[in-house]
Symmetry: C2
Subunit: 385 residues, 2 copies
């Protein structure tokens, strides 16, 4: 198939582009390098030495013979270029990673809040609008987040995949409805993904656009089968207080012999998935689109759930690191249960990499290997909310 990957230079987008290319799809990456530019503004950098786009693509072509194309476009702004590319490339599907994706960054200040809303909403609407404009039957696969659901709405019951059946008591009897799971986002970033959902529902209904929305958990791990093939293909690893997720913070702390820092009690339970499973899920989604006229198809893209404290213990056991508790800089419940349904991907053949098997590789292959590139003062959180 012909696939456009929006945000194909990023942490999930780059390995996804390589994976789709390795599976024989014709891939076009569109990216405006916003993630690399934010690094410049924040004074941060990927721990791993990622190469520029032309070197990445040249290396991939020499290694595999597969050509991946690239265009630098700001899709939240350059609508006409987007339409022209659709008309010229005629994609069967597009994968939409082109959103500002860090909750802490989205909460830093008014500028980053407004950028996150403006960029994410307009990027999504422009893609949908361009699909309508060019009159092609393009399947949109979007990266959502488990954060749209919030925590605890279903008590200890598993979070269903997108939709939930409810009953309303009326004077004329009981009404049964299947509705989008009510949302409860914990940051401006997560809020934008709840807005995306409503846009998908509208365009699916009004213009019969086929949409798959993947509510992803926290992605861990750095490398996939394809990014490991050559040093020039290496994926990014973020460890700073804005873009680094909890696990990457722990890994860096191991590498610099700092105690693992837990915010609050560590009772926060989060859903996780390894980057090599992310890329497989996206290929499965591409190969299993909803039918024209269907409501958006929603998958929970997670493979396991863990408490933060449990994660720290796991890392500590494997590495001997100490654990330290800090005041939580975020407004969130100090403890929560989290059970997530993820049957759809398992049924379609996903065979997950688990934290207990993959964690030590991250310490030795990434955190300790590149420890001389670390800027220690960027590890701790800089956004509070």
């Amino acid at each position: 198939m012909k696939i456009i990957v929006f945000g194909g230079d990023g942490f999930c987008g780059w390995p996804t582009s390589l994976h789709l290319s390795s599976k024989g799809h014709q891939v076009l990456i569109i990216d405006n390098f916003s993630r690399r530019k934010i690094d410049i503004d924040l004074g941060t950098n990927s721990l791993t030495p990622i190469q520029n786009m032309s070197r990445r693509l040249e290396t991939w072509r020499k290694l595999t013979g597969n050509k991946i194309e690239f265009e630098n476009i700001d899709i939240a702004r350059d609508f006409d270029k987007l339409v022209n590319i659709f008309l010229k490339f005629k994609p069967d599907g597009v994968v939409h990673f082109a959103e500002q994706r860090a909750a802490p960054y989205s909460m830093k200040n008014s500028t980053t809040k407004r950028y996150t809303v403006d960029n994410n909403v307009n990027a999504t609407n422009n893609i949908l609008c361009a699909i309508v404009e060019c009159k092609l039957d393009i399947h949109l696969v979007h990266l959502g987040t488990m954060g749209v659901y919030g925590y605890g709405w279903m008590d200890d019951n598993p979070i269903p995949e997108g939709y939930v059946e409810v009953t309303i008591d009326t004077k004329n009897g009981k009404l049964k409805k299947e509705i989008l799971h009510p949302v409860n986002p914990g940051s401006i970033y997560h809020m934008t993904k709840t807005l995306d959902q409503l846009m998908f529902g509208y365009y699916a209904k009004n213009n019969l656009i086929r949409v798959t929305d993947l509510h992803q958990g926290v992605v861990w791990g750095t490398q996939t089968a394809e990014t490991k093939l050559d040093q020039n293909l290496i994926n990014r690893f973020d460890y700073d207080g804005d873009y680094g997720t909890v696990l990457n913070r722990f890994l860096m702390q191991v590498a610099i012999n700092h105690p693992l820092t837990i915010y609050g009690t560590g009772g926060q339970t989060r859903a996780f998935i390894h980057i090599s499973d992310t890329v497989k899920c996206i290929e499965i989604a591409i190969n299993n689109p909803p039918k024209k006229g269907d409501r958006p198809l929603i998958f929970n893209q997670v493979t396991e759930t863990r408490r933060v404290s449990e994660l720290a213990l796991l890392v500590s056991k494997k590495t001997g690191a100490k654990i330290e508790y800090l005041k939580n800089p975020r407004k969130e419940a100090s403890e929560n249960e989290l059970v997530v349904e993820n049957k759809k991907f398992l049924k379609l053949g996903l065979n997950p990499t688990t934290l207990s098997e993959g964690l030590l590789d991250e310490v030795t292959e990434i955190a300790r290997k590149y420890v001389d590139r670390v800027d220690e003062k960027t590890i701790l959180p800089r956004s509070k909310w």
Copy 2:
């Protein structure tokens, strides 16, 4: 109180500003004249001869002694100016009409779709973000729409005011929840108001912003007690295929001796409110804010529901006009029931003007009086979806 009216030059915003001023509030209007500029692009115009802002305000001051201030700011873009005005004026409340508000206009083409999403989402987010930034306790009153609910989700039961109680069956028993009424917008314009709702919910929870969202029906009528005081204060009357609502189309058709045109069967039922009730509702909302920390307070701002065919009959009976049926240019159910709860405003003292009493005034005072200003070719619909 000190009140800012965003979009205070528009059809609802202008009479609201006068009404709040007449009640002793200190009013500042912010508007970028986008509505007047869209008229220029569309080659349309208000049927009534509306005056420019400085003449409007000068007339009001001479008549009543009340000074209304004005600033020309694009709040979807000029965030810093917005924050500075909040810090200087220190409003107790703001009324947010600053959104592109015509469904047909929002569906014309990719440019108007994208403008509607970009303007409406960024305007709302900027207001919320500016309230947080300036650390003042400002009550936000927003004009939503009955269109967020869609039609028929509750079957023939009354649409509740914003929230609905549901039950979820789980293996651990029944869960009872009060949720935001699920949305089913019929146009890009209506979709933006469903996005607004989620932003309000987020900021109310995370930043304890006090928000009132008014889900308004189709507004009819032109003048209020205040706009009638002087010819220079006259309110706008839109009759073109994009901005004119069904009733205004009928009124113009009466004036030019054209049959009343019904799209489809006319079985579409819509909720209505007179402009003089709109301005009263907004003052009631301003005087009855939710408490800090409350979820957004939602009112249904409607006073009666009518089928389009019934409305045509009403106009026909009063004027002798003929009725003609056209193919419906929109994707919508050909018939729907609509029952709406509106107890909250009635309880707070609203005493509505009804269609059967007010309609004939519109024909004689507006449509026939200004018929020499009409451009007949703009009356019929120009957007199809």
